[in-house]
């Protein structure tokens, strides 16, 4: 098992290498020298004057002017050796700091939505399968289809309107006020976060939950009449113990492999919702960075998100191997 994990970690290195090249090429695709362009943008927007010297310094630091592969090596070298993601012209601070500031809350929201998805989808999926075609199954199927069909930003808007008209409160943001958001972490701040986070959690997790309910239901329906379930029933196991030990355990596999895709898709799905709900997470910042050709911030974000995806794939594979001896034995 340990060998397997080490092996998988080693595989991640070449994969990350290829991904980083792709990201670099993508962010360099727009024509022209991003540094001059940025400076130009800023000059027109806010009257800051950069001297020709400043520009030269920047160019030298990030390798502009040289061939593309040299620029790439500079970029990735700075990140790997110095943790320097470059300068965000749009945020006007180090890109690494912007990312580091936004990542924790982003992860909290994403993982929160993920847990919400699992906690809700698992029991409902099981119930829908075990009581197939019952009233509960029909109701959850109906709600599930609505959840799948409504884009989550629309759901966010609906909830915002409902919150304002019915409860006279705003469901936006993750904290009650800007001051709390800026304040250092304390118990009160965590409490405030918990009070606000559940709405974005539901909104972001909604689509995934609906999808996962369908998956769980279908998997379990497949499992319920498998010969080993029947054999265990014939040994005298009670229905509940039977259900938990055999069909649910077997049906968990696709559930767990979904883990790998869920985290990145939550992060992606979160972007639009975060804009609508004004969440202090990376989604809107990443979008703006890309729109404003803020290459270092955009590239840095993409790099971190890719790494997260790889890590979550690895986690889900380890979980699968732990859960299913067939995978451990490689059969």
């Amino acid at each position: 098992m340990l060998k397997y994990i080490l092996q998988r970690l080693l595989y991640m290195i070449p994969v990350m290498f290829v991904i980083s090249i792709l990201i670099f090429v993508t962010i360099q695709l727009p024509p022209g020298d991003p540094i001059s362009k940025m400076m130009e943008n800023q000059r027109t927007q806010i009257n800051v004057q950069f001297s020709e010297q400043d520009l030269e310094m920047m160019r030298a630091r990030y390798g502009y002017g040289g061939p593309l592969h040299e620029q790439y090596i500079k970029w990735i070298g700075n990140i790997l050796l110095h943790g320097d993601f470059g300068y965000s012209f749009y945020k006007r601070e180090a890109a690494g700091k912007v990312i580091a500031d936004l990542m924790p809350l982003t992860l909290v929201v994403s993982i929160g939505s993920f847990i919400f998805t699992w906690v809700v989808a698992l029991p409902i999926g099981v119930l829908s399968a075990v009581r197939q075609y019952s009233i509960a199954d029909h109701i959850f199927t109906f709600i599930g289809f609505i959840g799948l069909a409504i884009p989550n930003f629309l759901l966010a808007l609906i909830l915002l309107v409902l919150g304002l008209t019915m409860f006279q409160t705003s469901f936006t943001g993750l904290f009650s006020s800007g001051e709390i958001q800026q304040a250092p972490w304390s118990l009160a701040k965590v409490g405030d976060l918990l009070k606000h986070i559940w709405i974005p959690m539901i909104v972001i997790g909604m689509g995934g939950t609906a999808g996962l309910i369908r998956i769980m239901r279908a998997n379990l329906l497949d499992e319920l009449h498998k010969p080993y379930v029947e054999a265990a029933r014939a040994r005298g196991l009670s229905e509940l113990r039977l259900l938990i030990k055999y069909p649910i355990r077997h049906a968990m596999n696709p559930f767990v492999s979904g883990f790998a895709y869920l985290l990145p898709s939550l992060v992606a799905g979160e972007a639009i919702v975060a804009i609508v709900m004004n969440l202090p997470t990376e989604g809107p910042v990443l979008l703006n960075a890309l729109l404003n050709l803020d290459v270092f911030l955009g590239g840095g974000f993409l790099l971190i998100l890719s790494l997260l995806t790889l890590v979550s794939t690895l986690l889900s594979d380890i979980l699968l191997a732990w859960l299913d001896p067939r995978i451990r034995y490689g059969s």
Binding site: P227, E230, A232, A234, R235, G236, E239, D324, P325
Partner: protein, 347 residues
């Protein structure tokens, strides 16, 4: 001698129907059976005739949309005082405590598919001890040791190693042995074996059969053996019931069935086994196919394939004819015979 032939399970007019969207399938359509204590009853018939459904009802594990519609399954169990107590299994709640205390403990079952009847997620030992711990007071360690002993009993080499293996690492024969070990774990009164050797290769088949016969002696078990293979029947059965489309068309002891088969279906089945037919020309597969369960023929269900069918067979459902104490047949050919006999006796 009398004591030996005491009835363990008596099935009376059992009907099990499947209520599907396409219609009602009468998978078991009014069968009578006597399972004698300590004996082997073989239930024979082509696939799809309702053997599995019938034997699953003994444990109340017929799955929906199937349901026991009517009839009785009278099981004589011994209570704590050693006295006989008759339970109608057909009346028990399928999820209830009473049937669960019978399943695996008093009546155990092994299935056709050794490859899929064990869950690949748990070790062999885990699944054997599950039964033991469920029905006895044994501790985890005791149960584990019992599992090893059981595996040894079913001739599995290195049982202490195998008990920790996952089922998918074993061959089909080994898995079926493990299934048998599991079935024996609570020393059941009766063992139901639903085509336990069908999925295995010929050599393994023979070994498993020998093992089962041997264990039946050792454990004094009653055996209900389901098969479509008359060759197997000849080897193990005391009594034989021949099933066709949900009905038991003929029933007798094994010698009578092989030497004096009465029902045209039994006769056709016997002609279709290579071992019994002497020459190639005699080998004669049954004509036609088992009919679609939704479009069951009227009258005698076998008439479309029957070589001796008469005009009446299309419309008249044959009744059970008692040829003698231990031989019944369900065929119009013999109804007259009994009538004549009765007339003769009356004279």
């Amino acid at each position: 001698m009398e004591k030996m032939s005491e009835t363990l399970v008596e099935v009376k007019d059992l009907k099990i129907h499947f209520f599907t969207d396409e219609g009602v399938v009468r998978a078991v359509d009014g069968i009578d059976l006597d399972v004698k204590r300590g004996k082997t009853l073989a239930l024979v018939g082509e696939s799809g005739c309702g053997k599995s459904v019938a034997c699953r009802s003994f444990l109340q594990i017929v799955h929906s949309p199937g349901r026991i519609v009517s009839g009785e399954i009278l099981y004589t169990r011994k209570n704590e005082n050693g006295q006989g107590e008759v339970v109608d299994i057909a009346r028990l709640n399928p999820h209830g405590r009473r049937i669960r205390s019978i399943r695996g403990k008093e009546i155990a079952m092994i299935f056709q598919e050794p490859m899929t009847s064990l869950s690949p997620m748990y070790t062999v030992g885990n699944q054997i001890t599950e039964t033991i711990r469920l029905h006895t007071e044994a501790t985890k360690q005791e149960a584990w040791q019992m599992a090893i002993d059981l595996l040894d009993k079913v001739d599995i080499p290195k049982p202490d190693r195998l008990v920790e293996e996952y089922p998918f690492r074993l061959s089909g024969g080994m898995r079926q042995r493990a299934m048998i070990a599991m079935a024996l774990s609570c020393n059941p009164t009766m063992l139901i074996a639903d085509e336990p050797t069908t999925a295995l290769d010929v050599t393994t088949q023979a070994n498993i059969l020998d093992l089962m016969l041997d264990l039946q002696q050792q454990y004094h078990m009653t055996l209900l053996f389901i098969t479509h293979d008359l060759g197997v029947v000849a080897e193990i059965a005391d009594e034989v019931a021949v099933m066709y489309l949900g009905k038991i068309v003929e029933k007798s002891d094994v010698n009578t069935i092989f030497n004096e088969p009465k029902h045209p279906y039994t006769q056709a089945l016997l002609r279709s086994i290579p071992k019994i037919a002497v020459t190639r020309e005699e080998l004669d597969p049954i004509k036609g196919m088992v009919p679609n369960p939704y479009r069951r023929p009227g009258g005698c269900p076998f008439h479309p394939r029957c070589a001796k069918a008469m005009a009446e067979c299309r419309t008249v459902v044959p009744a059970v004819t008692q040829l003698n104490d231990n031989h019944t047949v369900q065929c119009l050919l013999y109804e007259d015979l009994v009538g004549e006999k009765a007339m003769e006796q009356a004279k």
